[in-house]
Amino acid sequence: MNWLPSVFRRGKLYDDLSEEIRLHIEERVEQLMGQGMSREEAEREARRAFGSRTVLEERSREVWQWLSVESIGGDIRFAVRQLRRSPGFAIAAILTLALAIGANSVVFGVLNALFLRPLNVPHPQSLYTLERGGYKEQATSYPDYLDLRDRNRAFDALTGYILVPVGLDTGKNPSQVWGYEVTGNYFDALDIHPFLGRFFHEADEHGPNSAPYLVISYAYWHSQFQEDRTVVGRVVLVNKHPFTILGVAPPEFSGTLLFFFPDFWAPMVQQEQIQGLKVLDSRGDRDIFMVLGHVKPGMTPAQAIADLNSVGSYLEKSYPKTDAYMTYTLARPSLVGDMLGPAVKGFLTGMMLLAGLILLAACANLGSLFAARAADRSREVALRLALGATRKRVLRGVFTEALLISLAGGAWGLFGSIAVLGQLSGWYPVPQYPMHVPVYADAKVYAAALLLALVSGFLFGAVPVRQILRTNPYEVVKAGAAGILAGGGGRRVTLRDVLLVAQIAMCAVLVTSSLVAVRGLVRSMNSNFGFNPRNAMLASTSLRMAGYSDDTMPGMQRRMIEAVEKLPGVRSVGLVSQIPLGGGGATQDVFTDETEDLRTAKAAANVQVFQISPDYLRAAQTSLLAGRSFSWHDDINAPRVAVVNAFLARKIFGSVPNAVGRYFKLENGTRVQVAGVVEDGKYYQLTEDPRPAIFLPFLQSTPNQMCLVVRSDRDTEQLAAEVRSSLRDLDPSLPLTILTWVQGLNVALFPARVATVALGVLGTMGAMLSITGIFGMAAYSVSKRLRELGIRVALGAQRREVLEAALGRAVRLLSIGSIAGLVLGLLAAKVLASIVYQATPRDPLVLAGVVLAMALLGLVATWIPAQRALSVNPLALLREE
């Protein structure tokens, strides 16, 4: 079709048409005058026969309009003019939508980044991680891994990795960096190719410590080596052992987790040098963090699971001492499978739902604004209808206005959400770990925002449709604006009322749940963790990284404790292998003294294990319930002893006092005597149920990592500097991280904090929307009933009665909505309890807070309309008419 020239010809076409019609009328007039009419009469007659010339021309033009783009252009110009005439309305509407759509795009952006965007590896859809047993554990021992790798027939290749910190000395400043310790086939199994140099392969490994190679990440290469290409082949020191840099990973590859950004990859056969462990041949030490691989093409996950289970039952039969519950399931590796995936997904789905509700509330709000506006403009609409506009055309105008507002709101919302997502992406929630979540907006986020904008535009644009369709031009023109309202101001429950109640209820849900979350968070900060994080510093280091061996370590640790103890103002110093609630921890099986068969299936408990120095319990302020703590005499030459927590004491020995002096067995069969019993604590997560734990003297069981707990009342910053310098005096190459213990709890409090902030933001938005919603309704009802109120005042109504008449409805709706929302919110809080420790809805403060917040909200929203209703001047009003 040659439509293009017709676009350019169009102007001429229209001119021709107007000219033609003008001439037609002229001819008709002349003819009528020929029949004896006067010129005036003839002209009137000719025009009457023609009808509305504008309509005619418009209809004739429509024939030519290509997809009626032009008439839409006309609609847009008209809508812009209308909106310009009421800028307050336009700005309020756009802002409301921008906030609501922005919130949605932010939540969607995070959801998109974590769940909709696959890992940046080739064929991510067939990549699975192995989970074992009912607890869906991912940890695997190296011998088990080798069996799984070689005996399975379902995977192209199985690879595994461990997250490890090392002291890396590139010749300048030795510092602690995090990386992956991987099986030799890692890069080949994932089909990743080097950006620079080469990667290591399975063939490079010839047993323990045979492959001292390092692959560094692009980011580390960029920041530490300024993209120096000669870095390939350079020898650097990892925990004081020489490693050769083989190559640089491509910039888009950052390991197989979505939120953890390693600086390097090293072969797992170097475990002794990197982790200071020799467990490559120990089937019971499940040291590999995750095993993953691509399921072969044509294999279903169910077939792969069946294949893995057959390997599992082989392992159970062959190694009954160490391998039990060897049934497998598959999960996605990006969020550590079922460890984080379902929780994060559940939380984000909930957030998405809330954000969606906020958007619906915003639409309800704008819908009632539009309806009010349509009622105010009913005269104009009626006039346009009377002058020959079709209802379709009027509706098109309304929808154009709605879509203009929603698109503008969507654009601003998207703009804001891109900024927020950018901030979130650059946020390292836990400073100790290279963890952050890149949640940059992509095409999917843009598309979602656009879709939401269009849908909400149609939603709130549709609210006044019925009103316009029912407009009877003659009635309106006859009776004036007041006339049509006579029918609509009755006591009926309208759609608008329902929308408003729903919106207020939702706001109350949000307010309730954010208050529950905040209270829970505050309470969990002040609750008993089994230690006291206030007024304590943590200094973590790894002597292994600094090149110490099992023989030299205990002496150095003792010197470190003594050096810090000498600092002024320090009350006590304790050493612990892993700080509780620090985001990690070791567990092992323990057995009753009578058990001979030391298989996992026969274990009395799986306990959290901490290696501690004599003063740790005092420094951490963990109370001793019975027996004694350790002393410096509990060393390698003394009988093996342990301190257990009350939970374990009750579990194995029946009661706390009963436990002291009794024996139990460790995983390797060592008999250990209980020296003391301490209170229960939180070890892994704030929301965990009480669980068993044991404390072993560090002189009898050397820890891999260590953290000094320094209790002091001094200013933390100054103390931190002194601790650092006193430890560096002992050994300048020690990699050190010094934090307050409260900062150290960041990992444990992270989910609760995120939930609280997110709920708080959404709650605030919900509250703002409710305020504008109630305000809109109250203001509208006051302005429409101003005359009636004036008459009432003139007839002697009291202030109370005037207020009752003006705002009664708004207040009633507010109360209904609040009560409904409170009940729903309390129900929702049960779900919250799994994220925020000690979140309980049965809290008078929360209940009072919700009621107060909603009342305050009502007061704010109705203040201005109430003032207006009270200040009504009957004389002035009556004069106006």
Binding site: D16, L56, R59
Partner: protein, 115 residues
């Protein structure tokens, strides 16, 4: 009251315009007059329907238009049927006749199909 051309079945107005233009080219005003006369004033063509119809025909290239001067010395835009318009008209007339015949049969089933 006379019938308005708008009340006829869709396409009737276009058909009548094309038929009129087949006899001789004409401008809008003349077309109104012509149809009215030919139908003995039974059909009244509204200008409000005529011009959109003419635009449709123009767009479909069934007629073409030219500015010129009429026999009464007025500036007019004269419409002329195109070969495509002629073909279209023939089709329309034959299908209209078949339809008319069908309608007559339904309205007066006694009468045989003597055409």
């Amino acid at each position: 009251m006379e019938n308005s051309a708008r009340d006829l079945f869709p396409g009737a107005l276009e058909m009548m315009i094309l038929q009129s233009l087949r006899r001789q080219p004409a401008h809008g005003y003349a077309l109104v007059q012509h149809i009215q006369q030919r139908s003995n004033s039974l059909l009244q063509v509204e200008e409000g329907s005529l011009y959109p119809a003419l635009q449709r025909l123009l767009k479909a290239k069934l007629v073409k238009a030219e500015w010129g001067v009429s026999s009464t010395n007025r500036r007019v835009r004269t419409y002329q049927i195109t070969p495509a318009g002629l073909r279209h008209l023939e089709q329309q007339i034959s299908s209209f006749e078949r339809m008319f015949e069908g309608i007559s049969l339904v309205l007066d089933p006694g009468k045989s199909t003597a055409s």
